[in-house]
Symmetry: C2
Subunit: 922 residues, 2 copies
Amino acid sequence: MSKNKKNKGAPKYVYTFGGGKAEGKADMKNLLGGKGANLAEMVNLGMPVPGGFTLTTELCTAYYDNNEKYPESVYPEVDWALPILEAEMGMKFGDPDDPLLVSVRSGARASMPGMMDTVLNLGLNDITIQGLIKKSGNPRFAYDSYRRFVSMYGDVVLDMKPHTKDDHDPFELILEAKKEARGVSLDVDLTAEDLKELVSEYKAAIKEIKGIDFPEDPIKQLWGAIDAVFGSWNNSRAIVYRKLNNIPAEWGTAVNVQAMVYGNMGDDSGTGVAFTRDAASGANYFYGEFLMNAQGEDVVAGIRTPLPITQLKEIDPKSYEELDAIRLRLEDHYADMMDIEFTIQDKKLYMLQCRVGKRTAFAAMKIAVDMVAEKRIKPKEALMRIDADKLNELLRPIFDLKEKKIALDNKQLLAKGLNAGPGAATGKVVFNAEDAVTLAKSGDPVILVRVETSPEDIAGMDASEGILTARGGMTSHAALVARQMGKVCVAGCGELIINYKTRTMRVEGSDIVIKENDYISIDGSTGEVMAGQIKTSPSEVVRVLIDKDLKEEDAPVYQIYKQIMTWADKYRILNVRTNADQPDQASNAIAFGAEGIGLTRTEHMFFGEGKIGPMREMILAKDVEGRKAALAKLLPLQREDFEGIFKAMDGRPVTIRTIDPPLHEFIPHDDAGQKEIADMVGITPEAVKERVEQLHEFNPMLGFRGCRLGTAFPEITYMQARAIFEATVNVINGGQKVMPEIMIPLVGHVAELKGQEIVVRQAAKDVMAETGVDFPYLVGTMIEVPRGAITAKEIAEVAEFFSFGTNDLTQMTLGVSRDDAGSFLPMYVEKDIYQVDPFVSVDQSGVGFLMKLAVKQGRKSRKHIKLGICGEHGGDPESVEFCHRIGLNYVSCSPYRVPIARLAAAHAAIKDQGKKAKKKKK
Amino acid sequence: MSKNKKNKGAPKYVYTFGGGKAEGKADMKNLLGGKGANLAEMVNLGMPVPGGFTLTTELCTAYYDNNEKYPESVYPEVDWALPILEAEMGMKFGDPDDPLLVSVRSGARASMPGMMDTVLNLGLNDITIQGLIKKSGNPRFAYDSYRRFVSMYGDVVLDMKPHTKDDHDPFELILEAKKEARGVSLDVDLTAEDLKELVSEYKAAIKEIKGIDFPEDPIKQLWGAIDAVFGSWNNSRAIVYRKLNNIPAEWGTAVNVQAMVYGNMGDDSGTGVAFTRDAASGANYFYGEFLMNAQGEDVVAGIRTPLPITQLKEIDPKSYEELDAIRLRLEDHYADMMDIEFTIQDKKLYMLQCRVGKRTAFAAMKIAVDMVAEKRIKPKEALMRIDADKLNELLRPIFDLKEKKIALDNKQLLAKGLNAGPGAATGKVVFNAEDAVTLAKSGDPVILVRVETSPEDIAGMDASEGILTARGGMTSHAALVARQMGKVCVAGCGELIINYKTRTMRVEGSDIVIKENDYISIDGSTGEVMAGQIKTSPSEVVRVLIDKDLKEEDAPVYQIYKQIMTWADKYRILNVRTNADQPDQASNAIAFGAEGIGLTRTEHMFFGEGKIGPMREMILAKDVEGRKAALAKLLPLQREDFEGIFKAMDGRPVTIRTIDPPLHEFIPHDDAGQKEIADMVGITPEAVKERVEQLHEFNPMLGFRGCRLGTAFPEITYMQARAIFEATVNVINGGQKVMPEIMIPLVGHVAELKGQEIVVRQAAKDVMAETGVDFPYLVGTMIEVPRGAITAKEIAEVAEFFSFGTNDLTQMTLGVSRDDAGSFLPMYVEKDIYQVDPFVSVDQSGVGFLMKLAVKQGRKSRKHIKLGICGEHGGDPESVEFCHRIGLNYVSCSPYRVPIARLAAAHAAIKDQGKKAKKKKK
C-alpha cells in the first residue's frame, strides 16, 4: 500500500490485484465489493486472475456526497495503478501493437445481479484495433469486439440507450439495416468488413444524436466508464432492487477495472460457470457447464448447448486439472460451496469470479452437514448456514418441480393467496366440510374450498389434503388450524369468487370456472392456486416420524434433518413447546421434538362428537342452575379430552387455556340450525334467535370473551378446572406424571385473574379432597391485552406464568383485526409501513415493547416467573430470536413448526455471544 | 394532656371534653373521629356541650391489631377520665340519688350514618333507676328509659338482635305480648308499671337465651358498650358502606362516651336538628326543625310533625337566642354551612353534634359564592367546595322535583339505563328519526327511542328533546352525539324491548306497553325512564348564553355560574376546547367558554344535505379517477362546512380530523337503500351489495378506517385538506383569522403519518400558490392506538401536535369494545374490577400509563409539542385533573361540558401546589 502516492490524508481509493499479489482480500468486501474482494483473494491464493484494480465503495459514497464529483486524490491513484496493471499483463493501454483492453464492472457488497452497468473491451480505438487484429490473427473477432465496445459504451456512458419500452436502440436499428443490406439474418453472417462499417456508422450516430465525437483516448474512455458504473448505482432498477432486498443506499458500489481475456479467440479458448458442489442436491461433485470458443453470455443464453464440466477433461485436460485443483482449493479456503466463472484463452485458464454459491434449501442443509463431516466447518457454523424457515421443505409434501413448471408454463395458475400453511397439495375441490369427509372416505384426495372456515369445519379440514379460503389472514381460523394439523393452506385469496349454491368458483376477471370435483393444486409455501393435478411427493421426515412407513436408515433426508436437530438442541437455550388441542396433535409434536404444550384451546373440543349439544344448552340456559346442569354433561367429555392429551404428553407440562371465544360462535346463525337447537333444548326458535341477537357483537374481538366469560359465569371455569384436575388424577393413577398449567385468557386487570384463580384453586382443592390424590399445577395468564402487559407487575402477583398471546396483543396494540386486515395490511407491507406482516413476525418496536415491559415488570413481583409465547409468532424464526433476546423460557408453535423453532432458537443462542449456551430447564 | 396518667410510652387513647375545655379540637378528626373532634371544638368555643370523653381511632386500630384486646394502658386512662366527667356534670356513675347516665356512640373520620352501634341511657340499673325517678319526677319516663336501655344493650352488646330477616327480636315479642295483655296498641299507652315489668322480662329473656345475667355494674356496662361499638366497625353493613365510599378499614372508629341529656323530660325540654343555612337553596337563613318533649329520633321519625326552628323563638326565646348565636358563631368559626343537633333539657340548651352540612349541588354553589362575598373564604376555597360534575345542574333542564317525586311514588318508573346525557326531558315517543323531525315541526316535544342510533339519525336527534336507546355504552353514538348537541340522553337501557314494526316498546318482564305518541320522561342525570309527562324547567345559564331570552340581571343562577367560571379561569392552567362538528355547536361552546376546537369530525358532515350522494359515489367508484370525480363534488360542500366553523371560531385554533370511520357506515345495508343508490350512481344493485359485502368487517373498530383510508386513497385526504385550506383562505379574505390544525386519526406507525403529512402539505402548497394567500397551519395526529403511544418519539418527529383519542385508546388498551361492553362492563364495575367505567373516567394505570409514555417520548423529539385530549374523557373532572398532572396543554369536550372542564381544570391547578398557577397560552 505504501507504493500508492500520497493522498494528503484522504483514504486510499484504489486497490490493485494481479501477478500473485493483491492489496485487498476476501474480508474487505465492504470496501471492495464482493467481486473485488474475491478477485483479490484468488490472486493472493496464487490463482490465475487477469490483473486489475478496484475503485472502492468509499469512492462511490464520496462521489455522491460530493455532488457527483471525485475527490482529487483518486486521479493520481489511478495513474499509479494503471502502469502496475500494464506491467502485470505485459501490454500497454493504447498500444498500437499489443493494446491492453479492460472491462469496467460494478461490484457491490451484496450481489445485485444485472442491476448495474458494465463496459467491456475498453481501450479499443481506430489505432489499437490494428494491434488486436495482429495479436488475434482474426480481423472479424477484432471488429466484432470493437463494434460491441462502441455500442456498449454508447448505451452505457453516452446515454444512447432507449429510455422507454417503445424507443428503439439506434445501434440495433443500424445493425438490422446492415443485415438487411447484406441479405443475412444472423449477426454471425456479417463479415469483418461489415463490422468495420458498423463501427463507423455507430460513431456517426453518436455524433448525430449526442453531438459529440466518440472518445478515442483510452484514458478518457476509462473515466467515462467509471462514471457510468458509479452512476448506475442510482438507476431506478438498482434502487428498486435495493429496496426489495433491504440494501442501504449508503453502501455504494465498487468498480473493478480488469484486463480483458477472451474465450472466443478460437477453439483453444472457452468459458464456463461452475459450482464446487451440486447446487440443487448438495452432492459433492464438480458441477458446471462450459463452451469452447465462446463468451460468458453464450453459456447462459441458451443458443448453443453448453457441455458438462467433466467433458473439459477430454478437450483441455490441463485446464481442467488446474480448474479442479482450484475448485478444491477454494472449498478448502472458503469452507463453503463456491460459484466460479472462468475463461480459457489460448489454453490458458483465467479465473474471473468466485463467490459463495446460491443453493436450494435442501442443498444448503446437505452441504452444511457434509462439511461438518469433512471437518471444514463446526456444527455451529453449519446451523447458521441453514434458514430455519426452509426446514419446511423437509417437513412438508412438495410438488414435483418439473410438473409444476409445466403447469405454470401451461398457464394453469389461477390466483395467488397467502402462504398460510406450507407444502404442496393436490385434490378434488369440495365446497363444504361434510362433502370433504365423504369424498375423502372414498379415497380421493380433497381440497376444501371455503370463503372462510369456522370451528364447525374442523372435521372437513382434517379429511382434506389442503384448504383454500377467500378471506382471512395469516392467523385466520383456516390458517391457524391448518398449521396445527400440518395441512397445506392458502388463505385470504381475495380474487376468488366462490358460489356455494352452484358449487363453483372462479377468479375475478377470468372466465375459467372450477366446479366441484375438479382437480386443483395449491402451494402453501408460495400461495399459488393452480388448476389441475400436479404430482406431489411426501416428506421423508414425516414418513419416518409420523406415518412410520419408512425406516430411518432408508431415509437420507431424514438423517440430515436428524443431524441438524441434534446440533440445534445442543445450542438452543429456549424450550420449544407446541400448540395442540388433541392427543394426535400432541403426539406429532413430540415426534417433532416438542417439550410440552404451550396452548391447548379447550373450545375446539366443544365441537367434538356429542359436545356441542350440552355446550349450546349451557349457553341457552336461563340461569346458573340451568348452566350447571349443562356443564355437568360437559364435564366427563372434557375430562376425557384432557386425559388423552396428558397421556400423550407423558409428564411434560401442558398449558390449558380456559374458554376464550365469544359464546355466539357456538350457536348457528341460520334458521334451520336454530330450529334444530330449539327442539333439542326444548325452547322456541324465537328464544334461540333472541339469544343469538343478544350475543351479537359489533366487535367480538373486543367483546364478551376470554376471562370475561369466566368472570360472569364462574361455573364454566370451575367445570373446566375440575375436568382438568380429574383427568390429572386419573392419569396419575394410571402411573404417568402430569403437569397441568391452567391459563386464564384475556386478562387486562389483576382482579380478573384473581377471581378466576380462586375458582381454579377451589376446583383443585375439591378434587384433591375427593380423590385423596395430590398433584402439582400452576395458574397463570395470557398476556394478550395491552393493559395486561402494562400492569404485569400486579398481575404477576397472582400469575405463576405468563404466556404472550401475540396474536391478540398485535391486534390490540396495532388496532388491526387480523380477520379484516386483508383490505389494507398487504398495502401497508407493500408501502413499507410495516416491513413484514406483523401477524407473521412480531412487531418488535410496538408489540415487542409491551412484551419487554411485561417481562421486566412481571419479574419485579415474581423473580422466576415462567415466561412463554403461544401466539402464532412462536414458530416464526425472527420472532423466536426476539423471544430469546428478551429472556422468555419457551416458545410454543404448531406441531409442524416445532423443528423450525428449535433451529431458530439455536440461531438465537449462537448469535447471542454474550450469554453462555447453557440450557435452562423447563 | 399532662393530667393523664403515665402510659409508659403508649399513645394517649382517651381525650376528655366538657366544662369549657377539651383536650381535642376540630383538626384532630383523624384521631377523634368527626363527632369527637367537633364536640371538643364546640367545648373550646365555650358552647354548652354535655361532658364526656373520646376513645381514639388509634385505640380501635390497636384493638383489632391486638386480637380484639385493648392495650393495658387504656384502663387507667378511662379511670382518670370518668371522675372528670362526673365532676363536670355534678353527678356520679352509679349514684342511687342522682346517677350519671351516658351515651356510647361511634364516630369515624368520615360520616357513616347509622352503620355502627350506639347505646343510650347507660348507667341505669335497679338501684340508679330510683335516682332517675327522683330527679325527673316522672317514673314512666324513667322506666321507659330503663326498658329502652336494657333492650338496646341486649341487642347491641349481648347480641340478642336478630341476624336474619325472618328472625324476631325477642324484646319486640315481649313488648307485643305485653301490649296484647294490656289490651293496648301503642307503646305510649303502657304504664310505668308495665314498663317496669318489661325491664324484668327483658332481663329474664337475656338470662334464658344467653345464659348470663344483665350486668348491673355501670362500669361493666360501659366496657361492654365500648367493646360493642368498636366491634360494630366490622359489622357487615359497615364493611359494605366503607367499600362503597372508599373508606379504608385501617381508619377505625372513635367511641364517644357522653353524659345523657333528655329532650323528653317534659314541656320545657325539646330537641332539634338544624342547618346554619338552607341546605336546599343555599339561602342564608336559619333552617331547621324541632319538637318539644321529644327525643332526637322523634324529629326524623315523622310520627309527630316537627316545627320550623323560628317557632322556638316563641316557645323558648332564651334557648333560641343562644342557639342562633351559636349558629352564627359556628359559621364564623368553621367558615362553612353547618349541620347541628341540640337538646333542651329543662330550658337548658345542649349542643350534641355539629358538622359540615350536606347540601344540594346548587346550594353548594350559592353558599360558596356567598361566603366569598361575606369574606369568610377565598375564591380558591369556594371553587374547591363545588363538585365540577354538579355544574350540570346549572346547565341542563331539570325536572320539577315535586312532580318527579309524585311520578316515582306513582310507580311511573319504567326502567333505568345509562345516564349518558344529563338533564331532564319529557316528550312524545317516536321510533325513527324522520318521525322525530315531523312531530317536532308540529310543535310537540319529542323523545326519540331507538335500539341504537347511527349517523343517519342525526337530524332526528337534533329535533328531539331527548334520546333513549336500548343498546350502547357511555361513548356509543347516541351518547356521544347527544352530549355534543346538549341533548338529554339515556343510553343502553337493556331492559327495553323495542318493536319498530308495531311502534311500541315495553320493559322486559312488564306488561306496560308504550306506544308511539305516548308521553315519557327521561332523566339523563340518573338514567331513569318514566311513563308520562313530568314538568321540566330550562337552565337559566342556557337561556342567558345560548337562547338569549333572559337577561343576565334577571338571572341570579346565571350570576352564580358566571362568578364560579371567572374564578375557575383565574386558577386553571389547562386550556379548554370543545368537540364540535357544526358552526352552531362551535358558537354554543364559545358561549360556554371554549378556547378552540379540539375535534371536528368531518364524517358527520357527509350526512348533511346533498353530501351523502357524492360520498357514496366516491365509495362505489371503481378506480382513482372515479373517486376523484366524486370528491370534486364533495370539495365545495366540505369547504362551506369549514368556512362556517372558522367564522364561528374567529381565529381560535380548530383541529379537524380527516375521515375516520369505515366506509361501510356510509352505505345502507338494506335492499331498498342499496337499490336507490345503485340507480343514483348508475350501477346494478348487485354491485352495490357486492361492495357492501366487500366492506363488511368482523371487527370494524380494528379495520379499514382512520388513516388507513387516507393511506389507501390519498385523494380523499387531499380533497379534505384542500377544502380546509380553501376555507381558510376565504375566511382570511373575509377579514378574520384562522388557525387550522389538521389531525390524522388512528396512526400507529410514523410512516402512516408521514405519508398523510406529505399529502396535506401538498394541498396547502397548492392552495397558497393558487390564491397567493399565506396561512399558518399545523399537522398532527391522534394518539389512540397503543402502538402510537409506544412509538410517540418517532411520531413526534412528524407530528406538530398530539391529541389523545382516549375512547379508542381505552378500547384497544383494555381490549374492550365500547359498543359491546354492556354485556360485561357493568358487572366489572359492580365487582370492583374497574372502580369506574373506564369510558367515563380515564383508566389511569392502564390507558394513563400509555398517555404518560407518549407525553414523555413525544417531548423527546419535539420539546414543545402541543398536547391535548379529545376523547369523551376531556369532560370528566377526574380525567381533566389527570390531564393537568401529566402536563397536557388542553382538554377538549362536548360544548355543554366546557364549564365543567374549566372548573375541573381549576381544581387540578389549585390541588397542584407544586406548580405556579400561571396560565399557558394556547
